[in-house]
């Protein structure tokens, strides 16, 4: 037993020593934790790990991703709320966190007032896809088909996830009705649409790209305001229904009470990290662009998104009054 533990500790120490040596800046003097409210392997986790890797290099201190999955991200957010505002515990948020706040009451936190927002990290677009066997090629076709055959298409959604609300919002804006099939995660939903068990799905661009390029999925529309460079022949939602869009973000947040100079210094480090070409390439492969801003701007983004989501949640009936 003792020998095993010793061996284990030795290897651990060896691994840690791979970290670059500290460069003697003021912050940070010890490892920084990035809380992710979702399981490892998901989109938010990937963003956090990419950013953590670059920040580790810049700061000369380990930046560790700590997954605190559960209850659509709210376990992680609550952990952040209770953390000391010293900059050593930060978190990466995404759209689902806003969507969840719009739908659920009594979560025990206010995304705008209870936190100090540092910077947005990414801006991403969603994509509406269908199984190629459905005779539609564009979002316009989708609207026509669904109007002719109300309730026939099976629209897959991740129950309570960030795209659930957007899916309902798109149907409502287009004035169409489909069956809504609930899934516990985006993996099973994607699998079922590729296999043809369900017909349509709204999801972040990144995970859909290889399937669209490989022909397993038909791209109907891009959720962002501009067409995506790699898929320039795919229209945007707003080209069919003006003003309709579906985007998502990732952003870095800290507990309430971060000293202003510390917040500015972390923000500066983040902007620096977002300019890293390797990180840019990683982000683009996953379907979003590095996109930083100031703490004030980011706070405004969260407040606006929350307001839009709250209105939509009531309008689409996802939130019962």
């Amino acid at each position: 037993m003792k020998r095993t533990v010793g061996l284990f500790l030795g290897l651990g120490a060896a691994l840690l020593s791979l970290a670059p040596a500290a460069q003697g800046s003021e912050f940070p003097t010890r490892p920084v934790t990035l809380i992710v409210g979702y399981a490892p392997g998901g989109g938010t986790d990937l963003v956090a790990r990419n950013v953590a890797e670059v920040l580790s290099r810049k700061w000369g201190q380990k930046v560790l991703v700590e997954n605190r999955p559960g209850a659509t991200g709210s376990i992680g957010i609550r952990a952040l709320k209770n953390a000391a505002p010293d900059g050593y515990t930060l978190a990466v948020w995404t759209d689902s966190d806003v969507g969840n706040s719009a739908v659920q009451d009594n979560l025990g936190y206010d995304l705008v007032e209870d936190f100090d927002h540092i910077s947005q990290l990414s801006a991403g677009s969603t994509i509406l896809v269908s199984n190629p066997s459905v005779p539609i090629k564009t979002f316009g076709d989708y609207v026509d088909y669904a109007k002719k055959n109300p309730g026939e298409l099976n629209f897959a959604v991740v129950t309570g996830g960030g795209m659930h609300l957007d899916s309902l919002r798109i149907n409502a804006a287009a004035g169409v009705e489909t069956a809504i099939i609930g899934y516990p995660g985006s993996g099973p939903a994607l699998t079922d649409v590729i296999a043809g068990h369900a017909d349509a799905l709204l999801l972040p661009l990144g995970p859909a790209l290889p399937h669209v390029k490989g022909g397993a999925l038909q791209a109907l529309a891009i959720g962002g305001t501009k067409r995506w460079p790699g898929l320039s022949d795919v229209q945007t939602l707003s080209e069919t229904v003006p003003g309709l869009e579906s985007t998502f973000f990732h952003g870095l947040v800290g507990p309430k009470g971060l000293p202003d100079d510390l917040k500015a210094s972390i923000n500066a480090a983040v902007q620096d990290a977002l300019a890293d070409p390797k990180l840019g390439a990683q982000f683009e492969a996953q379907g979003f662009i590095p996109s930083g801003n100031s703490p004030e701007e980011f706070k405004a983004v969260i407040a606006e998104k929350l307001e839009t989501s709250r209105t939509a949640a009531v309008k689409t009936g996802l939130k019962k009054q």
Partner: protein
């Protein structure tokens, strides 16, 4: 021949000294971390992922594969030695493996598990190399109705996990299903039985419950018994390795386990998890010495271990051919590939053949490395059991807490484990067994999810289950299984009635 040249490409990219070293380090780290109770493959891979960032793509995937196999095997090690399943699929290994350890055959159980895994790994690697694209498409034939039928069959088969009375086994399954219902309803997000505790919104953590019921429950039970009775834990150091007759005895079990794991492992929706326990249920039915099952049958360890490893390996197929990760571990692998600039999916095989075949070959190397690493370590693991129990149980309890905490970095999971430790003890006293409970807890929510989705897709028409051939066939087998299980009981009861008259 295509296969030979493809394997040659793979060997070319995987077989460098540095890559062999990465495979070795990966297996070693995976085993050492995975052997901590509660740290199954997904937690271990997540923890060690950053260690691979600096390597080139081939090296990092090879090291990750090593970590993955090492962690899977590490989970089985604790299941056998101290009745602590490190992941859901080693729950089954714990049933007979721990009984073998109690009878002083821990070494044999560990080395057989390693051999069975190695055999299954070799077969699965070969199958992936030859049939991957075809099998990937076949996996997509399984929709919600088929999964529902499969889970229904699984739930009925979990009766076979019980050692004793049928009624008690059924009771445990129902109790397990009830505990599985805790948390947000997957269809409407409505909260069920959460009593306002946010941590319960995603349900009880299955690993925390399993470790409580198996591990802690066993500890409490052991502390209560007299020291003399526990001396059975003392292990004879000879008999570490399987003899020829053991190998011959377990060969059919390993073959059947590999076949089951190979088929079920393909299915992205929970197949790999079912494979170990389906293999056990089948083995118990067909084995010549069925009466030994539950009391330390070699086949009861070898078959699920083979199925487990074959299933784990086959779950790479949906990822590599379709770009669909079938579980958290595979999602992490996909994440690691993306960090290396590889988008997993159908294009990998055509665009980066050296990487694809390198990965296939490295799976085999990982398996080989694992056997080479672990067979010599069996003696070391077994020696752990000679530590006086008054020290050992403390260490186990501490490691349980660390392991369970690290699952989700959540102290709440530790409380769940402790509570279910006492629940497990009480149920054990009453003659209820944890294995059917755990299966009920795993299968119940999935059964509900697939039932609901089937009904959504069919707009409420239950005929969907009979109209589709695969689901109809599975349900037919399930119905037949009920009749077979019920018959002897009915017959016995008749006898009893007659005797009384």
């Amino acid at each position: 021949m295509d296969l030979v040249s493809n394997i040659a490409i793979g060997l070319d990219s995987a077989l460098s000294w540095s890559n062999l070293l990465y495979a070795f380090i990966g297996c070693l780290l995976g085993t050492l971390v995975g052997v901590l109770p509660g740290l199954g493959p997904s937690a271990t891979v997540a923890m060690l992922l950053p260690a691979t960032y600096q390597l080139d793509p081939a090296g990092s995937l090879i090291m990750l594969a090593g970590i993955f196999y090492g962690a899977s095997y590490g989970g089985s090690t604790t299941a056998i030695l101290v009745n602590l399943p490190g992941e859901a699929s080693s729950v089954v290994t714990a049933i007979d493996g721990y009984q073998m350890a109690r009878k002083g055959r821990a070494g044999l159980a560990l080395s057989s598990a390693a051999c069975a895994s190695f055999f299954a790994g070799c077969v699965a690697t070969l199958v992936i190399a030859i049939f991957a694209p075809v099998l990937g498409r076949m996996a997509l034939k399984f929709g919600a109705p088929e999964y529902f039928a499969l889970m229904a069959l699984g739930l009925i088969a979990s009766v076979a996990l019980a050692r004793g009375s049928l009624v008690k086994a059924l009771g445990m399954i129902v109790l397990g299903v009830a505990c599985g219902l805790v948390g947000a309803d997957r269809g409407t997000s409505a909260l069920r039985f959460t009593f306002g505790i946010p941590e319960l919104a995603d349900g009880l953590n299955i690993i925390a419950v399993a470790m409580g019921m198996f591990g802690l429950g066993e500890i409490i039970f052991n502390l209560q018994t007299e020291p003399a009775q526990r001396s059975a834990m003392k292990t004879r150091l000879r008999d570490l390795w399987p003899h020829m007759k053991d190998l011959r005895a377990m060969a059919p079990a390993v073959a059947r386990g590999t076949a089951i794991g190979g088929v079920l492992g393909l299915l992205p929706g929970g197949g790999p998890m079912l494979s170990a326990f389906s293999a056990y249920a089948l083995e118990k039915r067909v084995s010549k010495n069925a009466s030994e099952f539950g009391h330390g049958a070699l086949g009861g360890v070898a078959a699920p271990e083979a199925a487990n490893n074959a299933g784990a390996q086959m779950s790479f197929i949906p990822l590599l051919t379709l770009g669909i990760p079938s579980n958290v571990t595979m999602a992490l692998m996909a994440g690691a590939m993306m960090m290396q600039g590889i988008q997993p999916g159908p294009t990998v095989m055509q665009e980066q053949p050296d990487l694809f075949w390198g990965l296939v070959v490295s799976m085999w190397i990982g398996n080989l490395m694992l056997v080479m690493l672990n067979l010599p370590m069996v003696g070391l693991w077994v020696k752990l059991l000679s530590i006086p129990y008054k020290y050992l149980y403390l260490a186990i309890a501490v490691f349980c807490c660390i392991g369970v905490y690290s699952l989700n970095n959540s102290p709440f999971d530790v409380y769940v484990m402790v509570v279910f430790g006492f629940v497990g003890y009480v149920l054990k006293k009453l003659g209820g067994e944890p294995a059917p409970f755990i299966m009920g807890m795993i299968l119940g929510p999935m059964l509900e999810e697939f039932l609901r989705r089937s009904m959504q897709l069919s707009r409420g028409d239950p005929m969907i289950f009979l109209e589709r051939p695969i689901s109809a066939a599975l349900l037919f087998i399930a119905a037949a299984a009920i009749i077979i299980v019920a018959l002897p009981t009915v017959a016995k009861r008749k006898d009893a009635v007659l005797e009384e008259e």
